[in-house]
């Protein structure tokens, strides 16, 4: 298939960017979206032009490195990561707009690459457990009720891609932060830091300049891992509980 791409090009963090138009031909419907961009970049390199910078790593939907807002949708029209999006979701002759994640907490580094280290700092603020290191403990030593295990697992699926922030009209990181907090706060292993975790991670989230939640629901619609909007409700509940019980108001 033959496509017209309108891609955000920006030399570096300080430069002004703009949309540039490219034509690509010979795209197979079985290619992934990233392979389609690889095709474009090969042509650009052969022509001596600067290839389009974009993030990617595993290309199997598990690492969270790939991004891209495609025709206004984070990760494009299907509910999956950009690396798992295939060109069969588009028609021959389509014009496709490709933009970076937009949020002031995710500054553009180059072209379609943004700096998502704000997420790392949110994790550093409390997205871990204090466990003694050494040999793996006996799996049955700490029983976890099945519903809690399921709840934790559902939230553990978050790959930290940032599509929720990109989709949110307020550039909020509530869905990501709630997924990380809920995952650990429900488990006995996460219990010792239950209060400090939610207070510190929400505090760091604010510090990074993410917006607040207006319950628009765009984040949950965009999330490739299906983290639900009620995840934010659960986090609010944990936050209110922590402000009440921790005595650290």
């Amino acid at each position: 298939m033959k496509l017209t791409l309108r891609v955000w090009r920006q030399k570096n963090a300080d430069a002004d960017g703009a949309m540039s138009t490219y034509e690509v031909d010979g795209i197979s419907a079985d290619m992934s979206f990233l392979e389609m961009l690889d095709t474009l970049n090969e042509e650009l390199i052969l022509k001596g032009e600067d290839p389009v910078a974009f993030d990617h790593d595993c290309r199997e939907g598990i690492c969270g490195a790939c991004s891209l807002v495609i025709n206004g949708d984070a990760h494009g029209p299907e509910r999956t990561t950009t690396c798992q999006l295939h060109m069969r979701s588009f028609e021959d002759g389509d014009t496709i707009d490709i933009e970076p994640w937009r949020a002031s907490a995710f500054p553009v580094v180059k072209d379609l690459v943004v700096d998502r280290s704000a997420f790392d700092r949110i994790i550093q603020a409390g997205g871990y457990i204090t466990a003694p290191t050494g040999a793996a403990p006996e799996a049955h030593a700490t029983p976890v009720p099945k519903p809690d295990a399921d709840f934790a697992f559902e939230h553990a699926e978050c790959i930290g891609c940032g599509a929720c922030v990109a989709a949110c009209p307020n550039g909020a990181a509530m869905l990501f932060t709630s997924a990380k907090i809920n995952h650990l706060n429900v488990l006995p292993q996460g219990a010792p830091e239950r209060e400090t975790r939610v207070l510190d991670m929400v505090g760091q989230m604010d510090e990074e300049g993410f917006g607040g939640c207006t319950l628009t629901g765009e984040c949950a619609t965009a999330c490739p891992k299906g983290i639900p909007l009620v995840s934010i409700t659960s986090m609010n509940k944990e936050w209110l509980r922590a402000t009440r019980t921790s005595g650290k108001r």
Binding site: G72, D97, R102, S104, G203, T233
Partner: protein
């Protein structure tokens, strides 16, 4: 790093939810009270007088009314301040728009800010009109609320301002009530439908109840 209620975006949103629910509870009672206008001027004026003697003899004349007024003013100020500060944060967090635009969230969700501003202006006008009488069309008569209401809804602009504000109220409550449940952490997958239905019913009943008064004056049902 610890945060107080007011420092945190989640805390400010809590302030907004609680103050919103206080105003909502008041509005339900206020709307039901307004419906007394359909039983004639004596009953409506008596009801208005009773509001002033509420709580007597334990409370002094008009004390209960003043307590309600203080709570409501505090709620409006807290709500508007947190709405303003949170909105500023939200706009700063997303300064660059996407080139490829898509219409998104529901109408009620998208109009929370403008709807809130309309409601804020309406509250001011409404008090100047029917409480202090400052902007009232003909001679405002203290102690004769029935006649004052008829006078207001005998002007075209009185009807327009009021009805537009009540439609804005319906939309605000439709998204607001459900949102407040999420903010306060009482929403859940199992309760989601019930909360949405309650939000819609509240919004509809409030709007229809409030709007029925100017419509009744316009059509001569109440005169």
């Amino acid at each position: 790093m610890t945060r107080t209620m007011w420092d945190s975006s989640v805390g400010k949103k809590t302030v907004m939810a609680v103050s919103g629910l206080i105003m909502l509870a008041y509005l339900v009672v206020h709307m039901l009270g307004n419906l007394k206008i359909f039983f004639g001027s004596d009953e409506f004026n008596d009801y208005a007088h009773w509001l002033r003697t509420l709580g007597e003899p334990f409370l002094h004349y008009e004390w209960a009314l003043w307590i309600i007024r203080v709570v409501l003013v505090a709620a409006v100020v807290a709500h508007a301040t947190s709405a303003y500060q949170l909105s500023r944060r939200d706009i700063r967090a997303r300064p660059t728009k996407y080139v490829h635009k898509k219409p998104r969230a529901s109408y009620a969700t998208r109009t929370m800010r403008w709807g809130g501003i309309i409601l804020g202006l309406f509250i001011v006008w409404h008090i100047l009109d029917l409480t202090t009488g400052t902007v009232h069309p003909d001679g405002f008569q203290t102690g004769h609320p029935y006649q004052n209401v008829i006078d207001t809804f005998s002007t075209w602009y009185g009807n327009v301002i009021y009805i537009v504000a009540m439609l804005a109220l319906g939309l605000h409550v439709r998204h607001g009530f459900w949102s407040a449940a999420q903010t306060l952490g009482v929403g859940s997958r199992a309760r989601d439908r019930a909360l949405k239905v309650t939000a819609n019913v509240l919004a509809l009943v409030l709007t229809v109840g409030f709007v029925s008064v100017p419509v009744a004056v316009m059509t001569g049902v109440v005169s």
